[in-house]
């Protein structure tokens, strides 16, 4: 480029710049003045009127000598004219007065959650952001989505958070002089001034109270309210809440949006990534993550382990997980597990058996493949898998048989006793007879029986040395009582003679009865249904078979009934026999010494039982009394005691006189004879006369011949 051209270009650039500046100045000067604008006044020679003057809150500038001059809202030119006119009243020469706009300013106030609230003079084109910056910036806890500008008596609310998110300046309202920018505090900070912790606010969420916040609670790390934002998914909100805990039931997350609950399977979404699984979150929604224990776990790869394992439950078995993997995750089989009978239940209902013990021994087949939905059952050992009874050797075993709850073979220690053994065997059954425990003491090649009455020992006590000492190899049997005391016939083989007692004769149920020494005479009598109505209770005979050459005891049960004297009842022992005679027994069975014989003219002559306290009168009455032809004056009593002496008894005289001294002594064994009238002396004399007369007549007849 040649020099003249360069010169011309420079001139044009300068002219252009000047033109632009002049245009800017011209446009600025055309804009109405605002509160805060700074005007530059100049009046040569007047120092007080040369300088910068700011338009105050009243829209005026304060001129010396003149006072306030209102210039707000006037263009600069007009403002100059107004000012000149005001000055002309005081000053004569103001031809050289100039007024121009030096700088546009913005007078605003910033209040609320900022560092330095107050009135600020900002550049004319300052925004809300600049104002907040001039005020020292926002304080923690500022509610960013609800900033407001108070202008006159109006409030303009705007979302500063949106501006911060997007950077869109149109979100921020234009500032005007005297605006008050108010930054509210979050409602989450409470009503009491505290040192606010931003982390706490973060944990509490940033939700506001306008009902649009989304609540997230349940099994999340930081349940809280969070501000709703378009485009945020349920997963975003869960992440805002710190994510789910390890106890969360991620397949059962609930979203309540617009009053409608929706189920969200987070696990399925994580497995598939299908966006259609994400429900729409609306403002004011609630997200609840339930705890896993309330749910039944079921997933795509769930395998169930049940039975005797350490940790039964549902396990998520990834593809490729083997039976052993799953069993190990479940803690393995417990010590009660039956490793030979493991089962795998398929979803189709089929059951596969697996012998793990054989597998571990290298003998059986390997475990089957596991599929999702399978159930592994590890059963418990059954009772037949007991320690073998052969493990207790004979030299350390004792045998417990008979009527005990758990008969069997028990390991024995000599420090134990018979009571320990019976207790360990569960004690006697209801039918067990402890009064005759039999012990077969085995020693070498011989065995001897021992009988022990444990019943009497328990009831009466005794010396502990009397309890048989047991040794290994012995056999202890607890016999059984008959089920029905009357049902001896069916039990007679089982009822041994040395534990029985016999009762016969006039009783309800004669027979053989189980007996022990704790029972008494009346017990046996009662067990046999008692004596019959024909029983002769005065002459019950008891044979003591256990005593050699013992005479039978005669028991007068009636005397016992009269006196209650227990000594009349014999002490019985097993093996004894009781005979209750019948009153109507064969007459030859009734001893002569037990009866009185009544002969002659009585209604019922015969043998009668007689009580020594009775008299002949009782006897005659029992015999039906003398007949009509009885010779009552000559009743003969033959006393057949040590001496045999006969006496006669005049019943007629006794009846007339009542003289008891006439009564004879009658005792069992005596005889009473009531003659008839032909036995009287007169009768016999006449009989003799008759006989003599017959003889004489016969002699006379012979002589006559």
């Amino acid at each position: 480029m040649t020099c003249p051209i360069r010169r011309l270009a420079a001139i044009l650039v300068v002219a252009l710049i000047g033109f632009i500046h002049a245009g800017a100045i011209a446009s600025a000067e055309e804009a109405p003045l605002r509160i805060g604008d700074v005007l530059s006044l100049s009046l040569p020679g007047e120092e007080a009127l040369t300088g910068e003057f700011a338009i105050d809150r009243n829209g005026e500038i304060e001129l010396p000598e003149v006072g306030p001059v209102k210039l707000v809202g006037k263009p600069v030119g007009e403002a100059e004219t107004i000012t000149r006119d005001a000055l002309s009243t005081v000053y004569r020469d103001i031809s050289r007065f100039t007024l121009r706009l030096k700088e546009q300013k913005l007078l605003v106030a910033v209040a609320g959650q900022v560092a330095k609230p107050g009135t600020l003079q900002l550049p004319g084109d300052a925004t809300v952001e600049v104002a907040i910056a001039y005020a020292g910036g926002l304080q923690a806890g500022a509610q960013l989505d609800r900033l407001k500008i108070i202008r006159d008596s109006r409030e303009i609310v705007f979302n500063y958070k949106d501006y911060l998110d997007s950077g869109d300046p149109s979100i921020l309202p234009a500032l005007k002089p005297l605006d008050v920018i108010f930054v509210p505090i979050s409602p989450l900070t409470g009503n009491v001034q505290i040192d606010f912790d931003a982390a706490t606010l973060s944990r509490a969420g940033d939700g506001s109270e306008d009902g649009t916040a989304v609540q997230v609670f349940g099994e999340v790390a930081k349940p809280a309210q969070f501000a709703f934002k378009e485009g945020m998914s349920i997963v975003d909100f869960i992440m805002r809440a710190g994510g789910v805990t390890r106890y969360a039931a991620v397949e059962q997350i609930r979203l309540i949006s617009s009053g409608e609950p929706v189920l969200f399977n987070l696990q399925a979404w994580l497995d598939t990534g299908d966006p259609n699984l994400l429900p729409e979150v609306k403002p004011g929604a609630t997200v609840f993550v339930p705890i896993l224990s309330e749910q039944i776990k079921r997933g795509k790869h769930t395998v169930y382990v049940m039975g005797e394992v350490a940790k039964p439950g549902a396990y998520d078995a990834q593809p490729g997980a083997t039976f052993i993997d799953i069993l190990a995750n479940a803690g393995g089989p417990s010590r009660f597990a039956d490793g030979r009978q493991m089962r795998i239940l398929r979803q189709d209902g089929s059951v596969l058996m697996f012998d793990m013990v054989a597998f571990t021994e290298g003998k059986g087949e390997g475990p089957p493949a596991i599929e999702a939905g399978d159930a592994i059952l590890v059963p418990e050992k059954t009772d037949n898998v007991q320690p073998s009874w052969l493990k207790t050797p004979p030299e350390r075993a004792i045998h417990m048989i008979g009527a005990v709850n758990k008969p069997g073979r028990y390991e024995w220690s000599d420090e134990m006793s018979l009571f320990d053994l019976i207790a360990n065997a569960g004690g006697p059954t209801e039918a067990g007879d402890l009064s005759a425990i039999r012990i077969l003491a085995s020693k070498e090649e011989a065995a001897r029986p021992i009988t022990f009455d444990m019943q009497a020992f328990i009831e009466n006590g005794g010396d502990l040395s009397s309890v048989p000492q047991l040794r290994a190899g012995y056999t202890v049997m607890v016999p059984e009582l008959p089920k029905d005391p009357n049902d001896n016939k069916s039990q007679w083989l089982a009822q041994s003679a040395d534990r029985s007692i016999y009762i016969m004769g006039a009783v309800g149920s004669p027979g053989r009865y189980a007996f022990n020494t704790s029972m008494g005479f009346l017990d046996i009598l009662g067990a046999a249904d008692g004596p019959t109505s024909q029983a002769d209770l005065r002459r019950i005979r008891v044979s003591l078979r256990g005593e050699a050459n013992a005479d039978p005891i005669i028991v007068d049960l009636l005397r016992y009934m009269d006196t209650g004297d227990e000594s009349l009842l014999p002490r019985l022992a097993p093996g004894d026999m009781i005979y209750v005679p019948d009153r109507e027994r064969e007459w030859t069975e009734i001893a002569t010494t037990d009866t009185v014989r009544v002969l002659g003219s009585v209604a019922k002559p015969g043998r009668y039982s007689f009580n020594p306290r009775m008299t002949i009168l009782d006897l005659l009455a029992e015999a039906g009394g003398p007949t009509s032809d009885a010779l009552q004056r000559r009743i003969v009593v033959v006393n057949m005691g040590k001496e045999v002496v006969a006496f006669h008894f005049d019943l007629e005289t006794f009846v007339r006189s009542g003289d008891t001294s006439l009564l004879p002594v009658v005792r069992p064994g005596d005889t009473v004879y009531v003659p008839d009238k032909t036995q009287s002396r007169r009768a016999r004399f006449m009989e003799g006369v008759k006989d003599v007369g017959q003889v004489i007549g016969l002699i006379a007849a012979i002589v006559a011949l």
Binding site: R559, Y560, D562, T563, G564, D565, S567, L568, P612, R613, T615, I616, R634, V636, V637, N639, G641, K642, E643, V645, A646, F647, H648, F649, D650, T660, S661, L662, L663, P664, V665, V666, R667, R681, R684, F685, M686, E687, G688, V689, D691, V692, I696
Partner: protein
């Protein structure tokens, strides 16, 4: 025939009838003693036993059957004594004493016997 002969014949006839009639065989002696205990013991020994029975009856530790047995024996003993059945009476007296565990003779607070019985000489000794 002379009158004396006739009378003699008649007497002989009667004498012949008497044996035939059994008049020569008298009835046994009259009995007695059937309720002799109503008159009280006739012998001191019986009285002692009766006293002992009363005493034993009032004791709480006595066997009532023994007392009743003793009483029975005592009644028989008194009756037999009154009837003259002395040996039997002695036997029953001993039995009554044994039933009571032995009765000391002379323990009768009534003193001498009320009556003299047929067997008085049997009880001359002392019964322990």
């Amino acid at each position: 025939m002379t009158r004396p002969f006739n009378m003699l014949a008649a007497c002989g006839f009667l004498a012949l009838c008497l044996p035939l009639s059994g008049c020569g065989h008298p009835w046994p002696a009259a009995a007695t003693g059937g309720l002799a205990e109503r008159n009280g013991p006739a012998e001191a020994m019986h009285a002692d036993i009766a006293t002992a029975i009363l005493i034993e009856s009032g004791r709480a530790d006595v066997e009532p059957a023994r007392v009743a047995i003793a009483e029975d024996h005592l009644v028989l003993a008194i009756r037999e004594h009154a009837a003259g059945l002395c040996e039997d009476s002695e036997e029953n007296t001993l039995a009554a004493s044994i039933a009571l565990g032995g009765v000391r003779a002379g323990g009768n607070s009534q003193g001498e016997a009320v009556h003299a019985g047929r067997c008085s000489w049997y009880f001359a000794g002392e019964y322990q």
